[in-house]
Every structure is written in C-alpha cells, then in structure tokens.
C-alpha cells in the first residue's frame, strides 16, 4: 500500500491529499511541532496539536488558518484517519499517525525518548511504515540521565557563584530554553531574553505552567543579574548584551556538546549535552518498538542510521528532506549543521 510519497514540497499523503511538515506552500499542512524547519509560512491551512497552536500563531502570525487536535484525538481527512501522539521533543510536539484501510504510517517529526518532566513523554506506536529523524544517529551520542545532567549544571552554577560569576545558558527560544528553565528550577533567580519570554507567554496562554522567570529588560541593572542565571538564545553569543552581563560564564546547551571538539570550538566556558532529540539508543528503541516493516530515515545521520538498520534486519531507506536546516542557520550554534 502506498499511503505516502516523498515530494519536492514535502511528505505527501496520497489518499488524504495533505502534506506533513511541508517546506513549500501547500493547501493543507499537518505540523509536527513549532520549530521553523517544520512549521513554515505560506500554508493555506494548518493542523497541529493543541499545545502547539499558540506557538504557531506566535511564530507564523495570528492570522493563519489553524485547527488543532488533542493527543490521540482522531480526525478523518479524505478517508485517512489522522491523530497525534506525544513526541517528547518540545511542548506541543507530536508524532503524526496516519491510518488508511488498516495501513498505518507514523511520522515522528523530531522526538526525544527520555522524559524531561516538561513535555508530554514520547509514546511508541506500532505501525507499518515509520518515518524517523536521525539527528544524533551515531553510537557516540548517549545522553546522561536527566538527574545526572541536572547535577552537572547545578554544580556549574554553584562553582560560578563561588567565583562571583553570572551563569549564562544559551539555548533555542522554543524548547531548549524551557528545558533549561526546568533543569534549573529552584536553583536561583532566572532571567530570560525577550524572545524566550514572549514564547513563554504564548505557551502559558495555552494553560501549561512553566518555572518562574523574569524578563531580562534592555536596561537591566547589573547588580540584579550578578551571580544569577540568565537564559539567552544562542544567536546572542558574543553580542553586546552578553558583554553587559557582569562576570558572565557562558554555557551552550546542545546535544553536539557531547563531543569535545564541538565544546572547544566555541569560545564558551562550558558545554552541556542537553538535547531535545533522541540519542542513539533512543532512536533504536523507538524504531524497534514500532515493529515497522519499513523505516524511512530523514534529517541527520540518515545514511549511517539507515545502513545500520538494514544490517540488523530492519528494512530502511534514507529520505532527503529540508528539515534540520532552517532553525539552525539563524543561530550561531546549530543543533544540526555539524553532522553530515
């Protein structure tokens, strides 16, 4: 059964006549999550998970035509049953499940298997065909547990405070920033950049509670921020704003920080492997849990991961998409550009 087709515009559902995370304008787009390389402008109609709706409106414009569904709330489109399942990537992120005449395809968008105690945890779904990302699809990427990671980051802040330094974390406005907030909750007062602050408001607007933060205003007082925690988008690395923060110690939070060369490439004081993507074992366990007869591998280490899946007896093919680029190129530190 051919339910989906990989086209120039994106992943197309043939009987449903709609696209999944298309990168060119189409009539009907089903969106996995709010990152810019998955949720693009110019679609006539959007469908997303309930918690994503406010994020999409915030990012793409309040006037977009958008409809939403809760997790596991089916909708029939041209005979195809569409439903969302938690992807654990960022708030509102969903795997998109398509069912047509008993044949099931699942598209993951981006996902993370481990629980971050912020997003609704990833849920494996059985399917015939599975379309998975592979951002960290190499066996060198194995994340620490959330508790170990948290310990590392807390130790770092404590050390900074002992040396009278302000701890500055760099992470994307959508996803990473809220994750850092959660990891650092209760340690000390947290200031966030306006880009993060505005997203937080949008997220809270859909009824989700976030750790308490304060907006880092343009004319902040140095003595207020001194020794505290500041969270900024990565694009601000090396900016005037960072230089204004008293005795700043900067840390990049990204899965790429797992590798020493990546940590050392940026002139920062620390690198924490905080990722919103599945690590090697996460990808493998997710793929296996689907029991899919065919696995399509998209953005990341698609060549390597799909070759390995074939070797262990899971029929797989790599698929070229336009994901894993857009969000990155605006930022100095990219989650995806480094991997081939």
């Amino acid at each position: 059964m051919k339910l989906i087709k990989f086209t120039q515009k994106g992943i197309y559902c043939i009987p449903g006549k709609f696209y999944l995370d298309p990168w060119l304008p189409v009539d009907y787009a089903i969106i996995s999550h709010g990152h810019a390389d998955h949720a693009r402008r110019g679609m006539k109609h959007y469908l997303c998970q309930t918690d994503s709706k406010a994020i999409l409106k915030h990012r793409l414009g309040a006037d977009i035509q958008v409809e939403s569904l809760n997790y596991n709330e089916p909708k029939l489109i041209n005979g195809v049953q569409v439903s969302f399942f938690p992807a654990g990537h960022v708030i509102g992120s969903a795997q998109i499940r398509l069912e047509y005449k008993g044949f099931v395809v699942v598209f993951t968008g981006d996902y993370k298997v481990k629980n971050d105690y912020l997003t609704v945890p990833f849920e494996p779904i059985k399917c015939h065909e599975f379309i998975t990302e592979s951002t960290f699809g190499l066996p060198i990427y194995n994340w620490l547990s959330e508790a170990q990671l948290q310990q590392q980051m807390h130790d770092w802040v404590q050390k900074n405070q002992a040396h009278n330094r302000t701890s500055v974390f760099l992470g994307y406005s959508l996803g990473k920033a809220q994750r850092i907030m959660k990891l650092m909750e209760g340690v000390d007062k947290m200031y966030v950049h306006s880009a993060i602050h505005n997203l937080n408001i949008a997220i809270q607007g859909s009824g989700i509670s976030l750790p308490e933060t304060e907006l880092l205003s343009y004319d902040f007082k140095k003595e207020d921020v001194q020794n505290k925690i500041v969270i900024l988008p990565p694009g601000l690395l090396g900016s005037k704003l960072i230089k204004k923060i008293p005795n700043a110690a900067t840390a990049i939070c990204s899965g790429w920080m797992q590798i020493r060369g990546n940590r050392r490439w940026q002139a920062v004081d620390a690198g924490f492997a905080v990722s919103d993507h599945a690590d090697w074992n996460g990808l493998l366990s997710a793929v296996k849990a689907t029991e899919a007869e065919k696995v399509y591998v998209t953005h990341g280490s698609q060549a390597t991961f799909s070759k390995y899946l074939n070797e262990i007896g899971i029929p797989s093919a790599e698929v070229k998409t336009e994901y894993g680029t857009e969000e990155e190129e605006k930022d100095v530190v990219s989650e995806k550009i480094i991997s081939p």
Partner: protein
C-alpha cells in the same frame, strides 16, 4: 582522579592561555604530591611507553558494544579522536573506581609486560568503573596526546605562578634529568638537580615589520642587512661545558637537535649565540615544512637525522666567556662572532648569517624579491650601532618580508581537522582550471577565521557527494586566494607543479569558479624552473 578530570575539563573548554594557567594553579594547590609530578611528566612528553595497543582497545570496544567496524570508523571520523570515540561509545559504568593519577600511572606501567588477556581484563574493568570524561582520561593515560593546548611553556608558567620561581629556571628544572621515584615536587621546582646558572637565557631581541621608506632609515652604510629565515629562532647557551638550546617561546629544545649539540661541543669557549634553527641540506635551506617534521619528537631517529639535517644560522653573539656584551654595538658583536666561528671547526651546520653588500637603498628591493629562490623569507635590516635589545623595540631592527605568490583556486575536497578542529571541515584541497576541467594544485589548512570555517563546514555538509568516510567531495563553487612561498615543476603532482607552503590568504566571495586561474597561468609564476 576527580581533580585531574576536573582539571582537564577546565583546560579543554577554554582557548585562553591565562584560564588554562589558572586551572593548573588550582590543581597544584590541591593535588597530592605524586600526582603533581605525574602532571609534569605527562605534559612534558616524558610519559612511559604505551602499555596497550590502540588496535586492541578498538577491538575490545567493538566486542563490548557489538557494533560493526564501519560504524566505529564513521563515529571516529566525527569525533576525530580514538580515545574519545571509545569513551563515548561504551555503555554507562556499573560501579565507580576512584584512584589517584599516580595510582593509575603505576598500574599502567606494571601492565606493559602482561599478556593481552590480562590487559583486556584490566582495561575492561576500568572502563566499566569510570564515567565518560574519566574514561576518556584513562584512555589518554594509556597513550596519545591530550590535545588540550597545554604546551611546556604553559605548564611552566603555571608552575611559576604557583611557586613564585622564575619560569625559565623552572623550564630547565622540568626538562633536566630527574626520576619521578627519586625526587620530591619541591626539590624538582627548586631545581636541586640542575645548575640554572649554566642554562639561563637572555630575552630575544625582536624586530618590527618595516614601515617606512628605506632612505628614511639613514645612510646605507649605517645598516647591516641579512637574509631573514623561516625556521625556529633559537639561542644556544654554552657555559661550563653544558649546552642548552632555547627556542623563542622559551622552551628548551636541546634534545631535539643532537647535531647542534655535537658542534657546540667542538668549541672550547663559553658563549651565548642567537640565530635560526633551519633544516639544511647540501648547503641549502629547506622549507619550514621540512623542519617541522623534526619537531616535538620524543626520539630523533637516524633516518630523520639523515633526511632532514638541521643547522644553525648565527645572527648575533650575546655573551662571550662569561661576559654579557648585549649593550655593545652590533658591529662589535659581529666582529667577535666572526672570530669565534673562525676558531671553531669550519662546518656546514653552523653558518654565520651572510651580510648582504649593497651601495644604494634602491638595490635592496631586487635582492629581497630574489630571496624566495633559496627559501629566505626576505631581509633583516639592523642598525650597526644597535645594542641587543630586550624584546621588541622600534627603530633599530626591521624585518622586510617578500610578498607571497598567489593564485585563485576553487575548493573541491574538504576533510575534518583534529583536536579543537575535529568538529569542522578545516582541511581543504584546491584546484585550478585545466582544459575543460579542474586539476588539484594544493592542500591548505590555515588562514581562515573560525567563523569562515563554520560557514564553509555548513556548505560542505549541504553540498557533499560522499556519505561515509572522512573526505567530502564538494561542488566546485567556493573560491579562495592561495598564497605560497615557491613553485616548481613536479612530475609527482598531477598538475605538474608543486607549491611550497600553501595557505589560504582570503576567501574570495566576490569570485566564482569562472574566475579562477588556469594551470597555464600558474606555471607562468615559475621563475626558476630548475
């Protein structure tokens, strides 16, 4: 090992030498005595021989993880470091071992003569008792460089900051003969085993790049003009029968150049001379690239000594039989230097820097431009009355370099670097036009900013043809101006030419692949086709 592990983490993240020094000082304050001695040992290239082969470590890692070899290699080419790749791939530890650095080193030394089975048992036990960063350090203790940018000089500066002892004196102390089992940290730092009076160097006198018209310097006869050489500026100190060779970075490099030590031994007098360490073969100066192959080796093999013999071009005499003569005029010091070298055995290895005779300032430009033909990088102009200054002083000494040769070429291959550069495509191959296609002319690794490298890496990722392995063929689109020191016809190269010391001068974003040079144009640059 926690302190040592923290130290490595603190050092590797920063590219500021001062932060590295501060981290080292913090470690010295809390580390056990014996660990400090091991720190010095590890960072001065005195480490014991590798007890376990890398091929075995790789094999064991594959056995544990059950992953295919190609995937290991693919991971390795993404990490750029074998010890780190293994540390990252192994499963989480199941218990925790806490041993001091010196305990680990002692055990590793004892492991060397054991059987492979014993080694395997030991290494696997360690791997399953250490977390990622400690595992990486353990792998590095077995062998391999830490690649964290700590030179001997950085270490010495940290020891100096910690102890208050003069840095050059410490350099002599840690380079000197000592045995980790028979010396205390304090005695080592105090230099109980050395006589610093015999090695103490003088600060180097440095020149500025020429910034005015030659006639404004005064009369030609007031100036001594010599060729400028691209080697390692060095100072040879010979006192009371002991010989020390200092590099400009204030590192002692004596043991790297046995042929220089041998010549010095043929002199009776005591003296301190300033000059350039160069690769010299058949009375000709080789390129710095050749000299580089001789550097930082633990042992200089006989073959190395034959293939790349090293000599010393002498510029100046600073001390003569115990007397500091640096304040005397250059002309006087030169006279004494000529006498000294005449008295020594005539030697191809110890060569007095030639003085260039000229009548008119206008003659010099032509001489400078020919300098490249024998691998000189230009001219040095020194005021004959000048003292040997301490450090860089403007006015008395000028350097006047030749302009490099340049071509415009397009990038066609890219490869990831190592160490700090392992995450980016930093090593490139360039091509020029030949008939309807392209032909490679040079590989270059240096000359771009981090920002440019990041941008190019992004381009490579987007436009690469291969999916596996370390090398990427890219669409010929990015044009660069490549500078080099010389060019010659070559049968060994497909292009028919060999460029000497190519490096990237700038990224020509304003040019497209249509604008690059042709191989015919490149060949026109050959002035001396022999």
């Amino acid at each position: 090992m926690k302190h040592f592990s923290d130290l490595i983490s603190a050092i590797e993240i920063t590219n500021k030498t001062n932060s590295k020094i501060d981290a080292l000082v913090d470690y010295l304050k809390i580390a056990p005595e014996k660990d400090k001695l091991w720190l010095i040992t590890l960072f001065t290239g005195k480490r014991p021989p590798r007890p376990v082969k890398t091929t075995l470590m790789r094999q064991w890692c594959l056995e544990i993880t059950g992953l295919p070899e190609w995937l290991f290699l693919e991971s390795y080419s993404n990490v750029g470091d074998l010890g780190e790749t293994i540390a990252l791939m192994l499963p989480d530890p199941v218990y925790h071992i806490d041993k001091s650095l010196s305990d680990w080193m002692t055990e590793l030394i004892a492991l060397k003569p054991k059987s492979d089975a014993d080694k395997k048992q030991y290494v696997l036990q360690a791997w399953s008792g250490l977390h990622m960063q400690e595992r990486l350090i353990f792998n590095k203790l077995i062998g391999g460089s830490f690649r964290i940018g700590v030179s001997k000089k950085t270490l010495v500066n940290a020891l100096a900051k910690y102890s208050g002892i003069d840095a050059n004196r410490l350099m002599h102390s840690i380079i000197g003969n000592w045995d980790i089992n028979n010396i205390s940290f304090e005695d080592l730092l105090n230099g109980e085993h050395i006589n610093y009076d015999n090695s103490k160097p003088y600060p180097f006198c440095l020149a500025y790049a020429l910034e005015k018209e030659l006639p404004k310097l005064g009369q030609p006869e007031e100036w001594q003009v010599e060729y400028k050489w691209d080697g390692i500026r060095g100072q040879i100190v010979k006192r009371n029968g002991e010989i020390f060779i200092w590099s400009r970075g204030e590192e002692l490099v004596t043991s790297q150049f046995p042929e220089l030590v041998a010549i010095m031994e043929s002199f009776k007098e005591d003296f301190v001379i300033d000059g350039e360490i160069l690769a010299l073969k058949d009375n000709a100066v080789l390129l710095f690239n050749d000299l580089q192959k001789r550097l930082n080796r633990k042992n200089v093999s006989k073959k190395m000594l034959e293939d790349i013999p090293v000599g010393f071009y002498v510029y100046d005499l600073l001390e003569w039989n115990g007397k500091d003569i640096r304040t005397k005029p250059l002309s006087y010091r030169r006279q004494l230097l000529e006498q000294l070298l005449d008295r020594g055995k005539a030697h191809d290895t110890l060569v007095i820097s030639e003085i260039i005779e000229f009548q008119d300032w206008n003659d010099l430009d032509g001489i400078r431009n020919k300098a490249r033909e024998f691998n000189s990088e230009g001219l040095m102009l020194k005021q004959k009355n000048s003292p040997y200054h301490t450090g860089r002083k403007k006015g008395d000494w000028w350097k006047w370099k030749v302009d490099p040769l340049t071509i415009d070429a397009v990038m066609i291959y890219a490869q990831k670097g190592s160490g700090r550069r392992s995450s980016k495509y930093t090593d490139y191959t360039f091509a020029v036009k030949k008939d309807d296609g392209l032909v490679t002319v040079a590989k270059a690794y240096s000359g771009l900013t981090d920002k440019e490298i990041t941008e190019i890496s992004r381009f490579v990722n987007k436009n690469a043809i291969e999916k596996f392995g370390p090398v990427r063929t890219v669409k010929p689109e990015l044009v660069f101006e490549i500078a080099f020191e010389g060019i010659a016809l070559s049968n060994r190269h497909k292009s028919g030419v060999a460029l000497r010391f190519p490096r990237i001068l700038r990224w020509r974003r304003d040019k497209s692949v249509d604008d690059i040079d042709t191989i015919e144009q490149v060949k026109l640059l050959i002035t001396n086709p022999n």
